[in-house]
Amino acid sequence: MSPPPPPPPPSSRSIDLLPLATFTPDLYTRAWQSTPHPFLPLLATTHDKTVTVFSLATFSKHSSLTGGHSRSIRSCAWQPSSSQSSQSLRLVTASFDSTAGIWTYNPSASLEKPITSPSQNNEEEEEEEEEEEWEFSLVLEGHENEVKSLSFSPSGQYLATCSRDKSIWIWEHLSSGGDGDQGEEEEDWETIAVLSEHDGDVKTVSFAPGFKRGKKHDGRRYGSDCLVSGSYDDTVRVWREDQDGEWVCVAVLEAGIGTVWRVEWEGREREGGRYQRFMTAGAEGGVKVWELREEDEDQDEEGGEEGGVSRWGAVPNRMRQSLREDWEVTGELPKVHTREIYSVAWSGESGLVATTGSDGLLVVYEEDEETKEWRVRAKVEGAHGPYEVNHVTWCRRFDKGAEGRQEEMLVTTGDDGVVRAWEVRIGEN
């Protein structure tokens, strides 16, 4: 992907939110979350005990995952993969039945389905669903209560799950090396860590994004994985893998926003190679921006190759005890919402941020390049009529109206069982 063009100064452009499409069919029951595939035109929406996969080219149903869980599926994640082939299409679900489920897509069930590059799928007609396309291939058991959220590390090697049982589990996918295999080999997932430091329900986990492939310079500096968790205990915790492969908590952050519903990483590179920031959204209304305080001497550190050795690889053993990370609040979104904020989405393309919540508002914010202040740029009231909006995400457009441009839209998911797409029209005045 080419780097985004430099945006014009904020004052010179307008941002409007316009209804673009409603995904069909309606789901007729509370829908929790919609997760776009990293590069394919697919969107996975969790509702009840089902995941409905929609086509982003047609805004209609592509396939569904049913029969795997005995209670509601709260969230799901696509396993990252470097392969563009659908053979490795894999979705993991987090369920209130205390398990996570691994699902694999069976391409032979429908060879002609538009799991191809976006340029080819516009003319293809959607067929009615064939439920057998998705195979429920493995159950990850271990949590004692509802699994609430999950996240893959950028390489797809690690999966983090979190639960009301106050713990975070990290699983390693041992057969992830072979992307080109036939998908027939047995699933092999191993628990490599159980993190039990939170004092309450862990609501959300999120791995820091990896950097774009082929840029070794960035990979060297930020190659190691960083996990952030948010909890009912009002805290945010930052976790790192040390050089012995142990996952340790390197920071406990008092977010001051009540229950932490969502942690959202900044999805693009920063000037001077600084570490990505993240935002926290919670029950008490404020969205905060957290930034890692980096010492100057740290910049010259020699640890780590891409995807491998820990960032602390060069640090002597005796010093590691004191290696805490210093994260601090460096910004805050203007307070617009009047009730709980359930979701925040930070675009890796444009840098724009969107929030939704109990009050039904959909709000878009922009950071001022110079002052670093966040400002409200667009707002829609009653984005899902009178219903609560549980989730918002940025999503690349694949529909005909996008006209081949690298354009992003917002997708919201609500208690009304409706998934809606919003055009974010950036005008230049």
Partner: protein
């Protein structure tokens, strides 16, 4: 309408409960009910809120906005999980502790309405406080239109864990998960049998 005397925690007669000359209120269908399709077919939120839909809303719910007495009438008949009395009779639910924001007067058809219900458990260590609060929330979720937001709380100082219970019942995700627990759901349905 008369207010209940708060000082006396004993059981009230039905005739003592706050009421007004009865009008027939048909139960309303909210989200998460089996009647979803009825609701949704009437309210297809395809193009955001428009004036047309506002009119439809008025027709559907009548020109008479809900007030605290309506809320009281919905939840006071809920049975206590342990005693053969209703929450109204036990003064767990009290009319002066029900608030609607904005008040019925200055309300627009589609705008959000926040319902705050402060519950008074019969004893400060009542182990059933969470179940009672959940039942109240469940009842209101089932019956109120979707533009109503619920804050069910345990009155300050009336219970040893008032904050914890309040928080738990305010957590949408935990409530949703709890309602999928068959045992708990059975208890709630039994408590709601006395609601008509």
């Amino acid at each position: 309408m008369r207010e209940v005397d708060n000082a006396n925690p004993s059981i009230l007669n039905v005739s003592q409960l706050p009421s007004r000359s009865r009008k027939v209120t048909t139960p309303r269908q909210g989200p998460d009910t089996k009647c979803d399709d009825i609701v949704y077919s009437k309210r297809p939120w395809l193009c955001g809120s428009s004036s047309l839909e506002d009119e439809a809303l008025e027709e559907e719910y009548g020109e008479d906005p809900l007030d605290a007495q309506d809320i009281y009438d919905l939840i006071s008949p809920i049975s206590d999980p342990e005693h053969p009395h209703t929450l109204g009779q036990l003064s767990v639910v009290q009319l002066p502790d029900i608030h609607l924001t904005p008040p019925p007067a200055g309300r627009r058809g589609d705008s959000l309405v926040t319902v705050t219900v402060d519950l008074t458990p019969t004893v400060t260590h009542c182990t059933q406080a969470t179940v009672i609060a959940l039942a109240v929330r469940y009842r209101l979720e089932q019956t109120l239109p979707p533009n109503y937001r619920l804050d069910v709380r345990i009155k300050d100082g009336s219970h040893s864990n008032d904050d914890q219970v309040t928080r738990q019942v305010g957590d949408k995700e935990r409530v949703a998960a709890a309602l999928e627990n068959d045992t708990l759901r059975g208890t709630l349905d039994k408590m709601l049998e006395t609601c008509v």
